[in-house]
C-alpha cells in the first residue's frame, strides 16, 4: 500500500497514482474497443427487424404451442442416428487421440518434431467446428450419418488428445521409474507404468466428450450430415412450428439424459 505524504500527514491509498491511472486507461481502451465493435455490428443491422422482434417472437412462440406429440413416432429414428453419430464419433476420436496424445506429451514423445506435428493436429482439429467439418465431409461422402460421424470424430480428436496428453504429462514418475528398474522394455514401461495411471483420465475424457458430442450432433443435420438436425431444418423450412417445438423438446430431454449419464459414469470412475 503506497503512502502519499501531504501537509496534513500521510494518506494511505490502495494503489500508486501511476497504477491507478494505468487501470483507468485500461478501462478506457476496453470501452473504446467495445464502442467500436458495437458500431461495426450496428452498421450492418436492419433496426426495423430488431424493433419488430418481440412481435415476431410472440407470433412464432404462439405457433409453437402445443408441441405436436404425435410427431414423436417419426423422431425415434433420427434420435437413434444422433446417438450413433455422437457415440461412434467419440470412438473414432479416442482411437485417433491416443497415439496423438502420446506423441504430444513431453514425457512420452519420441522426438520434438513429432511433438510439434501432434500439437498442430490437436489445434487444427479443435479450431474447426464440427459443423464446418460436416460441411466439408458432406461434399466428400454425400449427405448422411457417415459424414456426421466422421465430422464429430475429427472435431473431438483435438479435445480428447489435449486433455489426455495433459494427463500423461501429470503422471507420477516414480511409478514409471519403478517399472524401469525391473528391466522393462519401452513398451512394457508404457503398458505397466503409464497406461494404468492415465486409464481413469482416458475413460473420463471419453464420457465427457460423448456428452458434448450429443449436443453437437443435434445440429449437424443443418448441413445435411444426418441426425435430428435434419428434421429440425426440414421443419423450420416448412414453417411447421409445432414440429419444431417437439424436436426442441426431444433435444432438451436427450441432452439432459446424456448429461446425467455422463455425470454418473464420471462420478463412478473418478
Amino acid at each position: 500500500m503506497p503512502r502519499i505524504d501531504t501537509d496534513n500527514g500521510p494518506v494511505w491509498k490502495r494503489r500508486t497514482t501511476r497504477k491507478q491511472w494505468a487501470i483507468w486507461f485500461g478501462w478506457l481502451v476496453a470501452l473504446a474497443i467495445t464502442a467500436y465493435a458495437w458500431q461495426g455490428i450496428s452498421e450492418k443491422t436492419i433496426w426495423f427487424f430488431v424493433q419488430d422482434a418481440p412481435r415476431q417472437a410472440a407470433d412464432i412462440g404462439g405457433r409453437m404451442v402445443p408441441p405436436k406429440f404425435s410427431y414423436m413416432s417419426k423422431l425415434w429414428a433420427p434420435v437413434w442416428d444422433t446417438l450413433n453419430i455422437a457415440t461412434l464419433g467419440t470412438v473414432i476420436a479416442l482411437v485417433i487421440a491416443v497415439p496423438v496424445a502420446f506423441a504430444a506429451a513431453r514425457n512420452t514423445t519420441p522426438h520434438p518434431i513429432v511433438r510439434t506435428v501432434a500439437i498442430f493436429i490437436i489445434v487444427a482439429s479443435r479450431s474447426v467446428n464440427s459443423l464446418i467439418w460436416a460441411l466439408m465431409l458432406v461434399f466428400i461422402f454425400g449427405p448422411g450419418v457417415l459424414a456426421g460421424t466422421i465430422a464429430i470424430g475429427l472435431r473431438s480428436v483435438g479435445f480428447c488428445a489435449k486433455l489426455l496428453y495433459e494427463g500423461i504429462e501429470e503422471i507420477d514418475h516414480t511409478q514409471v521409474e519403478a517399472i524401469e528398474a525391473t528391466g522393462a522394455s519401452g513398451a512394457q514401461k508404457m503398458a505397466y507404468g503409464i497406461v494404468p495411471q492415465v486409464l481413469p483420465t482416458f475413460a473420463g475424457i471419453g464420457v465427457f466428450r460423448w456428452d458434448i458430442n450429443i449436443r453437437e450432433s443435434t445440429i449437424l443435420g443443418l448441413v445435411g450430415a444426418g441426425g435430428i438436425g435434419l428434421e429440425l431444418n426440414g421443419s423450420i423450412n416448412t414453417l411447421a412450428w409445432t414440429q419444431v417445438s417437439m424436436i426442441l423438446l426431444v433435444i432438451l430431454v436427450t441432452v439432459i439424459v446424456s448429461e446425467w449419464v455422463s455425470a454418473k459414469v464420471r462420478g463412478a470412475i473418478i
Binding site: T45, V50, Q56, N84, N129, G142, G144
Partner: protein, 279 residues
C-alpha cells in the same frame, strides 16, 4: 527335485506357495459389470452399424472426389476475396467481443441468483433453469431463432452468442461462489456491511481472478462459434466461409479456414497467458 531337507527345500516350498507370474488387475474390478459392459458395447456397436444407413458405394465414390476436393483447397487463395474476408473476420471479432461483454453483464445477476449460498430457493431454481436452457441448445440452434427474429446479419449472431455465454459463464460463476470461503464472507458481514457491500468486498475479490480468466476463455469460444453461426445466417466469418463453399471457391475457403485456425491459436495462446498472469 528330490531334496527333502535343507535351505533348497525351503526355497522350493516358497516358490510353490507364492505365485511366480503376475497379471495386471483389470480396470473394472467387478467381473459381472466388466463383462456386461463389454457385451453391451458389442451389442450396441452391432446395432449401430446395422442401422446406420450408410451408402458405402457413395462413400467409396467419394474418396477420389475427396482427393479432388482437397486438391482444390491448395494453394489457399488469400488474394482474390481479401476485402470480403477482412470484412467477415472483423465482423466475427466485433461479434465475439460484444457478445462476450453482453453475455457476462447478463451472467452476473443470473450467476449470483444461481448460487445456492446467496439466493433463496425460488430465485435459485429460476436462475438455474435459465442456465440449463441456454446450455442445452447449441449456439447454432439459438442462432437459427435469432435470425428468424432479428433478420440476417451479425446482430442475430450477437444475440445467439450472448445467450450461449450465459449458460457457460453464469454456471461457472455460480459454482465458484458456492465454493468460496465462508470465513471472509462472514468477516465482511460482521462489519455491518449491506448486501451490495457484502457482494463487492467479500465475494467479488474471491471470484474475480478466475472469472477474468474465464471471460478471456469465453471470448475465445465466442470467436470460434461466430465462425459457425454465420452458416445459418448469423453473420461473421462463417457467412463468408459458407458463401465460399456454396460458390465452390474452395481455395478461398481454405484461406478462410487457415485464418480461423491462426486467430484461434493466437487467442488460445493469449488467453492461456492472461489466465496464468491473473491467477
Amino acid at each position: 527335485m528330490s531334496v527333502s531337507s535343507g535351505p533348497a527345500a525351503k526355497a522350493a516350498k516358497a516358490r510353490q506357495s507364492f505365485p511366480t507370474s503376475w497379471h495386471k488387475p483389470p480396470f473394472i474390478k467387478n467381473p459381472l459389470l466388466r463383462w456386461s459392459i463389454i457385451i453391451g458395447a458389442a451389442i450396441y456397436l452391432a446395432l449401430a452399424f446395422g442401422t446406420m444407413d450408410v451408402d458405402w458405394g457413395r462413400a467409396a465414390e467419394g474418396l477420389p472426389r475427396g482427393q479432388r476436393f482437397l486438391a482444390a483447397f491448395f494453394p489457399p487463395n488469400f488474394s482474390d476475396n481479401l476485402g470480403v474476408m477482412w470484412d467477415g473476420i472483423f465482423e466475427s471479432i466485433w461479434m465475439a467481443i460484444i457478445s462476450t461483454i453482453a453475455g457476462i453483464a447478463l451472467s452476473i445477476p443470473i450467476g449470483l441468483g444461481a448460487a445456492k449460498n446467496l439466493a433463496p430457493k425460488w430465485v435459485y431454481l429460476v436462475n438455474r433453469s435459465i442456465i440449463g436452457g441456454s446450455r442445452t441448445f447449441p449456439e447454432v440452434i439459438l442462432a437459427i431463432f435469432a435470425v428468424k427474429l432479428f433478420g440476417f446479419g451479425p446482430f442475430a449472431g450477437f444475440v445467439a452468442l450472448s445467450i450461449g455465454t450465459i449458460g457457460f459463464y453464469a454456471k461457472l460463476l455460480a459454482e465458484d461462489i458456492e465454493n468460496m470461503s465462508d470465513s471472509q464472507a462472514e468477516a465482511i458481514k460482521a462489519t455491518g456491511a449491506n448486501w451490495f457491500q457484502w457482494i463487492n468486498y467479500a465475494i467479488q475479490p474471491q471470484v474475480m481472478p478466475r472469472m477474468i480468466g474465464l471471460s478471456v476463455y469465453r471470448l475465445d469460444i465466442n470467436f470460434r462459434e461466430s465462425a459457425v453461426v454465420g452458416i445459418v445466417g448469423g453473420g461473421g466469418i462463417g457467412a463468408t466461409l459458407n458463401t465460399a463453399f456454396e460458390r465452390y471457391e474452395f481455395d478461398t475457403a481454405a484461406a478462410i479456414l487457415l485464418i480461423i485456425i491462426a486467430i484461434v491459436m493466437a487467442l488460445e495462446y493469449t488467453s492461456g497467458f492472461l489466465r496464468k498472469y491473473v491467477q
